[in-house]
Amino acid sequence: MKRNVDDAQVEEKGERAEEKDERIEENDEQEELERDNMNMWNMNDTCNCQKTSAKMMLAHAYVPWQCYDEAFSPQEALKKGTLFPSLYGVYPIPR
């Protein structure tokens, strides 16, 4: 992903930690917007993994099945707390 390359370059340049944090937050906000536009919030029934819909019963709770379609790099995943872009940002990220 493009973000990983950007982050790696920031680290290589050895910029001060503060500047880097600001940059990361900017990137995160940009990424949230992009994912908003790309409709990646898993709010619609567009996912092919939705195998629950056929047999749903009243008074039962269901969670949409996750599609394992994209992954962050391991470094990015450890930073964010998830390997999966589709699970990042589904709740507003606290700052």
Partner: protein, 197 residues
């Protein structure tokens, strides 16, 4: 049986000691929605789950919660590092110094000690998984409150990681609930009892 890794799941860093925030974040160590409650809840409920997959999930997440308890312990310990009795008292945590010095203890942010009353095991897998999903949401919200209460970017970063793990665990418990409900609907038994159909 566990395999112990001699490193934290993720490094814990702080910018400066902050005993006042240590007093608050201790709730994720020994509070109702903290990591001790979470780990014991899942590791205990696993036995009465109806499928091997559900048992495995509860064991995995319960184990990760132990790793999170370790991270919170490291965080609290760093936040009070170098604090003398007066610093602790000024931070409103004189009681901690009196009873535990720099030792850790499982309490919530108000000093209430950890209790098994915080966790449940009804033995009905749907009920127990619903409890776990609620627990993940409560932990998520608690982390949001704690992030609001600190200005330290390093502490926020650690708490944000743990916050995201709650979101992931909610998804996993939800998928497990989907599975278990489907499994239960195909069985003639409910928690070991023959069902009249």
């Amino acid at each position: 049986m566990w395999i112990y890794e001699k490193s934290l799941e993720r490094p814990v860093k702080i910018s400066r000691p902050d005993p006042a925030f240590a007093k608050l974040v201790i709730t994720q160590y020994g509070g109702p929605d903290g990591e001790l409650s979470a780990s014991l809840r899942y590791l205990n409920q696993r036995y009465s789950m109806p499928t091997d997959k559900a048992k495995a999930l509860l064991t995995d997440i319960g184990t990760e919660e132990l790793a999170h308890m370790e991270m919170i312990a490291a965080l609290v310990y760093k936040l009070i590092e170098g604090a003398d009795p007066k610093d602790m008292e000024a931070a409103g945590w004189g009681g901690q110094y009196a009873q535990h010095n720099h030792g850790l203890f499982w309490t919530d942010a108000n000093g209430v000690p950890w209790s098994a009353k915080y966790i449940a095991c009804l033995g009905d897998p749907i009920t127990d998984l619903a409890e776990n999903m609620a627990a993940e949401q409560k932990a998520r919200t608690t982390y949001e409150h704690l992030i609001d209460l600190t200005d330290d970017p390093c502490v926020k970063d650690t708490l944000r990681f743990l916050w995201q793990r709650e979101v992931v665990h909610f998804q996993r418990f939800g998928e497990c609930l989907n599975d278990v409900q489907e499994h239960m609907s195909k069985m003639n038994t409910w928690c070991g009892y023959e069902m009249r159909k």
